[in-house]
């Protein structure tokens, strides 16, 4: 299987008054046409990894890597202008909170149409039709009304589905979803995941799913990278996550309360400094 995306030795650094802070420290992985989960606590560098792929880290932040190859072409060699053709068109990103990623003073229809026409030379009416189709594809009822509405009129779940519609309309090869469901209720969460799952399967996209929710990732992804302090500490198949060997992964799993197995006290994660010292595990296939 040829990899869609190939990341080798990725570092993200932020210079600060107290020296350089390494948010991501030498991460390598590949992504095929699969659902790859990245899990870890806040501050483990999972979101930074996602952003670094799209070169969305602003100065003074520094991204270094041996290569970040998309279909064999190194993204690090591209100019900012060439990068803009990659973002959205070939790699899309869905951010955590729909409230902050939609433009509050533009109707939803205008925003989706803008996103589509930016990448495709089509007439307004064709773009409108395509946008309607896309909203239907993410299970939005009454898409004509939604096209006329403003983001504040939408619930969180609808906002997130609209974001997904917008991100998928240029038909990207890779979708990076950064905590796409953590602002949503459990019942809505499932719906959004099902939609993403269906679209990924139908279109044969690669998906990077960034989340702190282990059970969700175990359920939804094919392969999981577990990150700790900027490094990958373990790579495993999602359905075997519960047999994970690394004490950090086990600790995270054990600290979750479970309905079917009540306990008086929850286990608290005991951190071992050796975890952050150990070299990064490669996530290559």
């Amino acid at each position: 299987m040829s990899a869609l995306l190939d990341v080798e030795n990725l570092w993200v650094k932020f210079p600060s008054r107290h020296g350089v802070f390494d948010a991501v420290r030498g991460v390598s992985f590949t992504l095929g046409r699969e659902r790859l989960g990245i899990v870890g606590e806040s501050g483990s560098g999972k979101s930074m990894t996602g952003r670094a792929i799209l070169r969305l880290i602003r100065p003074p932040g520094i991204v270094e890597a041996d290569h970040i190859k998309l279909d064999g072409v190194n993204l690090l060699d591209k100019t900012e202008k060439e990068m803009r053709a990659v973002r959205g068109q070939r790699i899309s990103m869905v951010m955590q909170d729909p409230k902050y990623s939609l433009n509050p003073v533009m109707t939803i229809g205008d925003q989706i149409i803008e996103a589509y026409r930016l990448h495709n030379k089509v007439s307004k009416s064709a773009a409108y039709k395509k946008s309607l189709e896309m909203l239907e594809a993410v299970s939005i009822r009454d898409p004509e009304r939604v096209m006329r509405a403003y983001p504040h009129e939408m619930s969180g779940g609808m906002g997130q589905r609209i974001m997904i519609a917008m991100m998928l309309i240029p038909n990207p090869e890779i979708l990076i979803a950064d905590e796409p469901t953590s602002a949503l209720d459990v019942s809505v969460q499932r719906q959004v995941l099902d939609i993403m799952d269906r679209l990924v399967k139908e279109r044969g996209m690669g998906l990077i799913f960034i989340s702190h929710d282990l059970n969700l990732v175990a359920d939804f992804c094919d392969r999981v990278l577990i990150m700790y302090a900027g490094r990958i500490v373990e790579v495993c198949d999602a359905d075997k996550l519960h047999e994970a060997k690394h004490p950090y992964t086990q600790g995270l799993l054990n600290s979750l309360p479970r309905l079917d197995a009540p306990r008086d006290r929850l286990e608290v994660l005991q951190r071992d400094p050796a975890w952050s010292e150990a070299p990064s595990v490669s996530g290559r296939v």
Binding site: V186, G251, S255, L256, P257, L259, R263
Partner: protein
């Protein structure tokens, strides 16, 4: 005597055409020393019930009784010595320019305590922070440590009833375990009664004895956690919620 009785509580926002009924005819009671959960999706009115009890939602009707005393729209000073609340987001609920010492000291002073110095130290130890955190500012604390400060602040007036509004939803799972353990310990030590709001059924299942399931501002079912564990919820919505969280 019950710690808390809520009878036919209605809470609304706005008036006329814009009126939204956030809570409709909510009735439940919480016994002394019990831990009671409120679950439901966002917008179901679970947090609004807590806000109505503490007086943060001004428009309400019905009866709220705390320790046998009916609560009016204007709350007496003694009420705040009995009932305290911990908010969802520790990043937002602490004053960014007040040190931990100021946050706790001011609360203690407002409640008329004299031995503030020893009490601040005691509070910090109670929530497992220790004195080295006393003169830190919120930005120098992690999310879990901030939530501990917020819990210490709520414990300062020595309340009997603690209202917890999603106390761990802004925290990582590993930190969530620490805070939930802390809350269980404090409940036994200080003989507290909890009313806990959460959208996470497994957290409520871990912490509470009984819970109410809410939908669209109404309590659709009140059930024991044991019933929940055995998947015997009666109302279709509770079942739906159960299935979604597994």
């Amino acid at each position: 005597m019950n710690m808390l009785d809520v009878n036919d509580l209605n809470v609304w926002f706005g008036s006329g055409r814009d009126r939204v009924d956030a809570v409709k005819h909510a009735t439940f009671s919480v016994a002394q020393g019990e831990s009671f959960g409120l679950v439901g999706e966002s917008g179901s009115g679970k947090s609004t019930i807590l806000r109505a009890i503490t007086g943060l939602a001004p428009d309400w009707s019905g009866a709220i009784t705390v320790e046998g005393k009916a609560i009016g729209h204007k709350r007496a000073k003694a009420f705040f010595k009995t009932v305290q609340m911990v908010f969802q987001d520790p990043y937002a609920s602490l004053h960014p320019r007040h040190s931990v010492d100021q946050v706790l000291g001011e609360t203690l002073q407002l409640h008329g305590f004299k031995d503030i110095d020893t009490r601040v130290v005691k509070l910090l130890e109670d929530v497992g922070l220790g004195t080295k955190f006393r003169f830190r500012y919120p930005h120098q604390l992690s999310g879990g440590q901030r939530q501990r400060v917020a819990i210490a602040r709520a414990l300062a007036p020595e309340p009997d009833l603690l209202l917890l509004d999603e106390p761990t939803s802004a925290l990582d799972v590993s930190v969530q375990a620490e805070i939930l353990n802390l809350l269980s310990d404090l409940r036994t030590e200080h003989n507290l009664t909890y009313v806990m709001v959460s959208h996470d059924l497994s957290v409520v299942g871990h912490m509470c004895d009984r819970l109410a399931v809410m939908k669209d501002g109404e309590i659709v079912e009140v059930l024991d956690v044991d019933v929940l564990r055995h998947m015997n919820a009666e109302h279709p919505y509770s079942r739906h919620l159960l299935e979604a969280s597994l």
